[in-house]
Amino acid sequence: MTPRQRRLGLVIGIVVGVSIAGALALSAFRNNVTFFFDPSQVVAGQVPAGERFRLGGMVTKGSVQRAPGSLELHFVVTDFAHDVPVSYSGVLPDLFREGAGVVAQGRLRSDGTFVADEVLAKHDEKYMPPAVAKSLKRRHGEARSEPGS
């Protein structure tokens, strides 16, 4: 084996070794790496009990209910397998809307309601001009709900 081949082997060894170490570490800390839990994980009891965590999913269409005269708000977060009701009082990001992604931070109350103290909007990777979105909406006949305000 020439010295060059030995150095090549060393470099490949480093890359493989660090990749394996990284993969093991990331899979061991999976729950810490993940930014939010989805409703199925919450319903299955995989979330840290009594601690603050983030809940992410879609805002169920037609589920947003506002208490008149206040910032209080109730909606349902779904991953299309399970639902979690959320209550929140505060300012919403502009992109918060029914049928779109949302990430809420807070605690799970004993009755199964998630009490959020922060709500972030998660938009998807699709970009399109307003006219295209409008004609898509017309063709599908299903309303993409208007902004929550």
Partner: protein, 245 residues
């Protein structure tokens, strides 16, 4: 296979002259593509149906983030070549990449924060994508700091190269972070299976800017490699002869 072209690149006087000749061939197309792409993206492209005019920040954010990864891959490959073939010029290329890559990473992080506040409702979250991109910045800075810690160029080259190669594992982690884990950041719109998730009127300016940023990186890299060669070869005769000529 003939490798003579590759071995000739390892000669500092040859690469010094070649880099000078090539620089304008990258710099001018880069300037034209970036100016044209910015005009197309910021003025001509239609607004987004949800994000409105604010989505236009992707025309700076996405190319910068893309370059922050591509420059790191270039740096890591150059460092590996330098380590395996004992090629000083490759180490010079790796050293020249780091400040450029760090700058692109800062631009990606800052534009991302400016984008995140109106769209998501937050400047910063410890999200997998955001955190791994921040680690990338620390890898660049660590690489530069480690190199600066050695007086001896050869030892700086070898230690820096090891760090650059170890840091390569972060590149796929950044790219796949939004797929492997739940993330606030959306999935890739362009680099995905199937058609890109945007119409040509929005996509074309983005692709033009990606190409423009890539050529800009090549031009800046060539200038920096020449400076690095001057620094490393300052005691040699050919430098004196070249500079007098």
């Amino acid at each position: 296979m003939r490798w003579t072209w590759f071995h000739r690149l390892a000669s500092p006087p040859y690469l010094y002259a070649l880099a000078a000749r090539l620089t304008p061939w990258f710099a001018w197309p880069a300037a034209l593509l970036i100016l044209g792409g910015l005009y197309a993206g910021l003025v001509l492209a239609p607004p987004d149906y949800q994000q409105g005019e604010g989505f236009r920040i992707i025309y700076v954010h996405v190319p910068s983030a893309w370059m922050s990864l591509m420059v790191y891959v270039t740096m890591g490959v150059a460092a590996a070549v330098g380590l395996i073939w004992r090629m000083k010029i490759a180490h010079a290329v790796a050293a020249s990449c780091a400040p450029i890559g760090a700058s692109f990473t800062v631009v990606a992080l800052v534009t991302g924060a400016l984008y995140g506040k109106p769209m998501w409702g937050t400047w910063w979250e410890w999200d997998p994508r955001l955190t791994s991109e921040l680690i990338l910045l620390f890898l660049y800075l660590g690489f530069m700091g480690l190199r600066a810690g050695f007086d001896d160029t050869q030892r700086a080259d070898r230690s820096g190269a090891l760090l650059a190669i170890v840091g390569m594992v972060n590149v796929p982690i950044i790219h796949y972070s939004v797929i492997w884990w739940n993330s606030l950041h959306q999935a890739p719109s362009v680099m995905r299976f199937g058609k890109p998730a945007m119409p040509p009127a929005m996509l074309v300016p983005l692709l033009v800017l990606l190409l423009g940023f890539t050529l800009f990186f090549a031009a800046v890299l060539l200038v920096r490699v020449r400076a690095e060669i001057l620094q490393r070869e300052r005691a040699t005769r050919w430098i004196g002869e070249t500079l007098r000529a």
